[in-house]
């Protein structure tokens, strides 16, 4: 036990000696947590439209102004020909070209149907699909208000059954994205810090040769690993607390649930995460290697964690990978506790998983850090 004390003392000394890294550990997550959620906005608004009006009638004018009034679209320009309008899409300043054919009203009366062509920039799939969907809705609405349709339809309308749908979003009545993303980003940043820094640690001693000196000393494997783990754990818990403070002060999100449960879970999660970093470290021969391996996994963690897209919608194989990454569970639990006020009973299973992760990863790290070959 006394030996562990000396190891801890040494590790803390080394961490506090390197001011630039210490500053990075605290400043990076704080600054990024303030900035990044503001930049993450999935909402599609302001779809840029170029209109080619070949009709120039009062109906086409009405039609165009109806689209403009919907609030989703922004006029870039009106162009006389489709070719010229297409240039806006090519250089990226428009998402959609709408071409109204000549004789709009005449055809409508004669055929009962008039096609309007929409050309959508298909590269950004989400935006294209949403833009077309919005436009379809606006057009459907416009059809209803057509003077042609409103004649004689009034009698029928009263008989039509109406289903009145009321919808509500609990825990987040305005369905604001920030409530979802801020806790997730907090977890991600914490993970980046913990994962990268711990991954670099043991390999640094390997490179400098100091690990040999430790290996011939009576320091035991677990003492060495625990000595590495504890200082980073303490720092990460402080970073987590700062993150929670930022979440509250900047975004006005304070945990609905028990903060003790939140910290308990974070404590176990960090042990698992740091164990993972140290595991990478024991497998690497140099810092560059450790960093790239860590990056590889951090990237998978980030993409699979459900931070950006929901885990439930993934195919089965991907869901399995997601469930095998500790961060997925932590993001889920943080969101549950912070946003919904879930209690310990609700996250018991996740907590159990996390303990398993912590034991498995650290056990593996200790086992792999062999003093004897």
């Amino acid at each position: 036990m006394k030996v562990l004390g000396y190891i801890l003392q040494k590790e803390f000394l080394q961490i506090f000696r390197d001011r630039s890294i210490l500053a990075m550990m605290f400043a990076m997550p704080t600054i990024q947590l303030i900035i990044i959620p503001l930049a993450m906005n999935f909402d599609v608004k302001n779809i840029d439209v170029v209109v080619v009006d070949n009709d120039h009638s009062s109906l086409s004018q009405k039609f165009i102004s109806k689209i403009g009034a919907s609030g989703y679209f922004r006029y870039v320009n009106a162009e006389p020909s489709y070719r010229e309008a297409l240039r806006y899409i090519e250089n990226g300043s428009a998402d959609l070209v709408m071409e109204i054919p000549a004789g709009l009203e005449r055809n409508l009366v004669r055929e009962g149907l008039q096609k309007v062509s929409l050309s959508v920039d298909g590269i950004n799939g989400t935006k294209a699909a949403l833009g077309a969907a919005y436009l379809n809705a606006v057009i459907a609405d416009f059809n209803k208000s057509l003077p042609l349709n409103s004649t004689g339809g009034t009698a029928q309308k009263n008989v039509q059954p109406v289903i009145d749908i009321t919808s509500s979003n609990w825990f987040n009545p305005l369905a604001e994205y920030k409530y979802y993303i801020v806790p997730g980003v907090l977890v991600l940043l914490l993970t980046l810090i913990g994962g990268f820094i711990s991954a670099l640690n043991i390999v640094k001693e390997k490179e400098s040769g100091t690990i040999e000196q430790i290996n011939v000393s009576p320091v035991k494997k677990w003492e060495f690993i625990v000595g590495k783990l504890v200082p980073f754990w303490v720092i990460a818990m402080i970073v987590f607390s700062i993150g929670l403070a930022v979440t509250r002060l900047v975004y006005g999100i304070s945990p609905q649930g028990n903060i003790g449960v939140l910290y308990l879970f974070a404590a176990v999660y960090l042990i698992a995460l740091l164990g993972f970093g140290l595991l990478i470290s024991t497998y690497s021969n140099n810092q560059l290697q450790a960093m790239f391996i860590a990056y590889f996994f951090m990237m998978i963690f980030m993409l699979m964690s459900g931070l950006f897209t929901s885990v439930e919608s993934m195919p089965a194989w991907a869901k399995m990978i997601a469930n095998l990454t500790p961060i997925t569970h932590f993001i889920k639990v943080v969101r549950m506790i912070v946003l919904k006020g879930s209690g310990f009973a609700d996250i018991r299973l996740e907590f159990f998983y996390m303990i398993l992760f912590a034991i498995a990863l650290n056990g593996w790290a200790i086992w792999n850090y062999r003093k004897t070959s």
Partner: protein, 368 residues
Amino acid sequence: MKQLLVFIRKEFYHVFRDRRTLLIMFGIPIAQILLFGFALTSDVKNAEIIIADHAQDINTGQITAKIKASTYFLVKEANINTNDIEAAFKKGGLKCVVIFPSRFGADLLHNGKAQVQIIADGSDPNTAKTLTNYLTAIITDYQLQISAATALPYSIVPETRMLYNENANGSLNFVPGVLALVLMIVCTALTSVAVVREKESGTMEILLVSPFKPVMVLIAKAIPFLALSIAIFTLILLLSVYVLDVPIKGSISLLYIESILFIITCLSLGLLISNTTNSQQTALLLSMMGMMMPTLIFTGFMFPLENMPRIFQVISNIVPARWYFLIVKAVMLKGLGFEYVWKETLVLAGMTAVLLAIALKNFKTRLS
């Protein structure tokens, strides 16, 4: 010239000796392409919902059947009490509850008006919104179905055409994004470490006392990374064409030239980082941990830049990946020529010149 070749060969050895790092460097883009292409979807599928049907009549039965037929939902029928909904949401899993009041069918028949309530777990607002929209659409559709007159006699019908992407391939947007991300990280980190490592081990001094210009030392260091980056770039292109079915519409040679320019930009950035730090650890943390999120965000391929606050849009201009992303999108996906991307190219070239100038200036002053 012969000396330069000797140097370059030495640097190649350094890069290719470490097989594991090499493997990871090729593994990163492969994993990213596969995950983006096959695992990640912004669609909602198999969302757990509960239909609490207090009416149990023909109408609610028909609506429930319609909802069940959709792949979006995993429907559970249960007479959940309003008071229990919160507890169920807190447990996780459940995303949404649809409640039909007990007189749903009767109200619809006699009053011509019935109510249905949708309660979504707003802690995941995207899913909540999407589910509410889907459910609303299904119910509205049902309403139209049961009303006597459906189609309007006169209507304007939109005919939608997806430009550049006839098959609505969802992989298109992120291929340029992955390219930008991977090249940026790989080049910057490798370069910054290569120089710092020599500083740490003291071999930099040996190189510098050799009858070789410092600039040549840097060029020799950069060439293997350039070769490696081009190989990674080629791999991503092959993957996107053959695995994701994303065709290359424009000129391949233009694409390569632009990519080489971007790689040089990243190498210069790495050089600058290596000049300002003294340990591999700091250099790596800066170039990998520090830049991971900003590159992802400000490149604009996951989150649209135009939605961001004004100041971030301004900031994003200094992120080289952002310009490269635009270029690749235009050349590779839209098949446009140089006349459409000369501005972006100029910006990248300008950035490279500035970065390189600062890095070289620092490099020289450190020597004297």
